[in-house]
Symmetry: C2
Subunit: 455 residues, 2 copies
C-alpha cells in the first residue's frame, strides 16, 4: 500500500478490552446464546481477539427457569433501558415482533451508540432501512445474520462472499416449519391439517402458525435477502406471498407422479421491462421442484438458499434454519465480527452491503410478463361438461396444456380433482384463464396455482 495513509496502523500488540453484550429476550435462542458464549468462551476470545462477555440480560418473566444460570448477569426489568447502560457495547435483540419493545430497544441502542445484533426478521423487514440508516449515520454496526435461515451464514455469503457478482437470481427454502410439514406430507401421505397438528405438538410450529404457514415469515426473510443481493430498498409489502395451507395430500401425490416435490420456495430476481427500468420480482409460493433439483433433497426443518451470481455461478448454502443452537451460532458470529472490527468504522456502513442511502427504491415487477410453467388444481363438481368448460377457458386465454389428469371421484363428497400442468407461457395468460372461470358453478373451490421451479 504505497499510500502511507492507507497502511494498517495497528498490530494489536496491546490487549483489547472485552466486548460487553446485553441480551434482551431469553427464550430458547437467548438461552442458547448464553450457553454458547459460556461454553465456547476461550475459542471466541482467540477468534475475536478479545473476550466476549454478557453483562446484562432482560426478559418478560424473571422467574422462569431457562436452564441457564442468570445470576452472573445484571437483570433489567425494562429491556429498553439496557441500551443506556454504561457497561454495554452491543445489544443483542431476541425479543421478536416487528414493533413494540424490540423496535424501541433497537432505536435506543443505536441512539446510545451501541452495536446492534438482532435475529428479528419482522423488524428488519419492516424497519431495516430506518435502523440501518441511523446506524450508518452514527457509525454503529447493525447485524442480523440470524434473521434469515438460522445458522446458515447466507447474509455474509451475499454481503461478502458474492460481493464481486451481479446476482441474477436467488431462491430458497426459508421456512423450516413449512418444509417440515411438506416433507412429512410427502413421506406419509397425510393431509396438511393433520401434519400441522403434529408439528405444533412437537414444538416445530407455533401455537399461532399463520406467519409460518401463510408464507409471511419466508417473505420477511426474502425481502431482506433481496435488498442485499440486488441493492434495493427492502420492499416486504410487494412480496407476492402464498402459503401452504391450501395444499392437499393429493397435490403432493400428483406432483410426485409428475416427477416433482412441493416446497415453499422464496424467489427473487430483477427484471428489466420494455421501458428499460429495472424492477424487483419477489415471490413466496409453494413450487413444484423437479426431483433432480438441489432443493428437492432439502427435507425436514432444513433451510437452503441458492444464489446465482454472474461470475460465481450457482451457490448453495444449506443448514438448520431454526433452533436455539444454530440461531445462537449466527447471533454470536455477528457479535464476533463486531468484536473483531469495532474500532473501525467502515464495515458499520454495510449492513446491506452498500450504504442505505445508495439502495434503489425499485418498483415491483409485474409477474404477468414472466414466462413460467404452472400447476393448476381444480376441485370440480362431478358432472358432464366441466372439463370442457375448464379447457375452453384455457384455450380462450391462450394457455397451452402440457398434461391433464382428472382424478376419480373423491370418497366423501362427489367432487373430482382436475390437475393440469401448462407449457411455459406468460403468467398473465393463466391469470386470464382463471378470471374466465371465476364464479363458475362447476368449481367447488378456488383453483390452486403453483409454479414449477426452473432450472
Amino acid at each position: 500500500m504505497a499510500d502511507p495513509t492507507s497502511l494498517p496502523n495497528s498490530t494489536h500488540s496491546t490487549a483489547r478490552p472485552p466486548l460487553r453484550v446485553a441480551l434482551a429476550g431469553l427464550g430458547t435462542v437467548g438461552a442458547g446464546v448464553i450457553r454458547l458464549i459460556e461454553s465456547n468462551a476461550a475459542l471466541i476470545e482467540r477468534r475475536a481477539g478479545r473476550r466476549v462477555v454478557v453483562t446484562a440480560v432482560s426478559a418478560r418473566d424473571r422467574g422462569k427457569d431457562r436452564g441457564v444460570d442468570l445470576s452472573p448477569y445484571a437483570w433489567e426489568d425494562d429491556m429498553t433501558a439496557m441500551a443506556a447502560r454504561d457497561d454495554v457495547d452491543v445489544v443483542v435483540e431476541l425479543v421478536g415482533g416487528s414493533d413494540g419493545p424490540a423496535l424501541t430497544l433497537a432505536r435506543n441502542a443505536i441512539r446510545h451508540g451501541k452495536g446492534l445484533v438482532t435475529a428479528n426478521k419482522a423488524m428488519i423487514a419492516h424497519h431495516g432501512m430506518e435502523l440501518a440508516g441511523t446506524a450508518e449515520a452514527a457509525g454503529i454496526p447493525l447485524r442480523f445474520e440470524a434473521a434469515v435461515a438460522g445458522g446458515i451464514p447466507v447474509i455474509k455469503g451475499l454481503r461478502e462472499g458474492v460481493a464481486a457478482n451481479a446476482v441474477d437470481r436467488l431462491y430458497g427454502i426459508l421456512n423450516g416449519t413449512c418444509n417440515f410439514i411438506l416433507s412429512t406430507m410427502e413421506d406419509t401421505g397425510r393431509d396438511f391439517a393433520d401434519v400441522l397438528a403434529e408439528a405444533q405438538a412437537k414444538g416445530y410450529a407455533e401455537a399461532d402458525p399463520s406467519f409460518d404457514i401463510e408464507g409471511t415469515d419466508a417473505a420477511h426473510k426474502l425481502s431482506i435477502l433481496s435488498s442485499i443481493a440486488f441493492g434495493a430498498r427492502i420492499d416486504f409489502a410487494s412480496v407476492e406471498t402464498m402459503g401452504i395451507s391450501r395444499l392437499l395430500a393429493a397435490d403432493i401425490a400428483q406432483a410426485d407422479a409428475l416427477g416433482y416435490v412441493i416446497r415453499l420456495i422464496a424467489t427473487a430476481e430483477t427484471a428489466t421491462g420494455p421501458d428499460g427500468v429495472q424492477r424487483l420480482f419477489q415471490r413466496v409460493q409453494p413450487h413444484l421442484v423437479p426431483f433432480d433439483n438441489l432443493l428437492a433433497h432439502v427435507d425436514g426443518a432444513t433451510n437452503a438458499v441458492v444464489v446465482e451470481g454472474n461470475f460465481s455461478g450457482r451457490l448453495l448454502f444449506q443448514g438448520a434454519g431454526a433452533g436455539d443452537g444454530p440461531t445462537a451460532s449466527a447471533v454470536v458470529a455477528d457479535v464476533i465480527d463486531i468484536a473483531r472490527g469495532m474500532d473501525t468504522g467502515f464495515e458499520a456502513d454495510r449492513a446491506f452491503s452498500i450504504p442505505v442511502s445508495g439502495l434503489e427504491a425499485m418498483d415491483p415487477a409485474d409477474s404477468g410478463h414472466r414466462r413460467s410453467r404452472a400447476y393448476l388444481r381444480f376441485i370440480v363438481a362431478d358432472r358432464p361438461g366441466v372439463l370442457a368448460e375448464i379447457t375452453a377457458a384455457m384455450r380462450d386465454a391462450g394457455v397451452s396444456i402440457e398434461s391433464l389428469i382428472q382424478k376419480g371421484r373423491a370418497e366423501e363428497d362427489g367432487e373430482v380433482l382436475v390437475v393440469m400442468v401448462t407449457h411455459e407461457g406468460p403468467e398473465s395468460a393463466v391469470a386470464h384463464a382463471l378470471r374466465l372461470l371465476e364464479g363458475s358453478a362447476s368449481l367447488a373451490a378456488p383453483p390452486l396455482v403453483m409454479h414449477l421451479l426452473d432450472e
Copy 2:
C-alpha cells in the same frame, strides 16, 4: 460503546482512493478476473466503497491472445517485480505452483507492504504459515478464498460464519476433476482411464492429471480448511491421501448395488487420545457415500463442503469448484474485503481466523483407533480356497464382515472380484487383516480399501 476509544471514528464522508491491483498470471482465471473487474466495475465500487482498478499485469507469454484487452494495464516481464511498483496496493497471484515465481512474488508483495490475494492452494498448503506470519507481523492482509472450492465462500464461512463454533468435523468434495470422473463413471459404467481421457480432451483435467487424481490437490485444500477450522498449524504432509486412479467400473457398480455412490471425500476432525492430547485427523480418500447423504447428489465438477459446528449443526456450502468465473468471483471477493477494510489493521491478523502464532502444532491422529466401516475389494485368482484364505485373515484380525460378494469371472483374465463391507470396527483391524494377506499368491493385485462416510 461506552468506552469512547472504541467508538467508530469515521463515517467515510470523504471519497477513498481506488484500490490498485497487480495481477500475476493470465491464464483462464487471470483473464476471468480482468473480465469481472471490468464488467462489474460499478457494482464493485458501490460495494467496496471505492473503485477497484487493475494497474499492472504479468504473465509468461506477453503475446498470447487471452480474449481480454491488456493495453490499459502496465506490463511487467518480471512478475516478481510487480510487488515493488508504487501504483499497486494489492498483488493478486494466479501463477500457481507451491514454490518458484509464485512464492517469490508472494514474499516480495508482503515485504513491500502490499496486500496479497492468491488462488494458490499448493503455495498456501506448503508456505501458508510463513506467509501469514510475515503478513500478520507487517499488518498486511493475506487472503486465499479462491484456493479452496473455487467460487464457494467456504474460507469465509469457516473464518467468520461459524466463528462462534467449535468445529466437530469437516468434510467435502474438494476436487472437481475427480468428481466429474466419478460421476461420469457412475452414469456411464465406463472405466477410469476411459473417462479420464475424455476429461482431458474436454479440458476438465490437466495434461498431467496426477495432482488431481491422486488426491494431492484435495489434500492441499483440506490442510488449509483444517487449519482454520481447528486452529491448527497447516500440516499437509500428514494428510492421509489416496486418489481415484485404482477405481474400477466394478467398484462403482458394487457400491451402487449396496446403496452408495463413490466420491473422493476429504475429511478432517480432531481426536483426543487416551493421553488427553488433541490430535488432528486428515484424510483424502474415495469413500462410499450413502444415497441419502447430502454429498451423494453432488455431481460433475461441483464442490461441496460440510461443516459441523457444535452450535450451528451441519452446514453445507456447494457450488462450482473451479472455472474462470467462479474462481475470479472468489479472488475479487477477497479484493473487495481488502478494499472495504484496508485502513484497519485487525482483520489483517486473521488469515487463519486466529493469529498464526496462536495456531497449535497438532500431531497427526493415528487412524488405527478410528472406528469405521470399510469396503474392501480384492482381485483374486479363480481357484479353490481363496475365499477361505481371505475370510480367515479377517477372522484372525478381528474384522467382522457385514456382506460379501464374489463376482463371477471377469471377461478377460480369469480373475475374480471379491468385495466385502465390514461392520464398524477399528481401522487397525482391517490394516492387520491386509498385512496377513500380504504376499499371498491368491491376490492378483493389492486390495483396495475405502471407508463408508458416516452420517
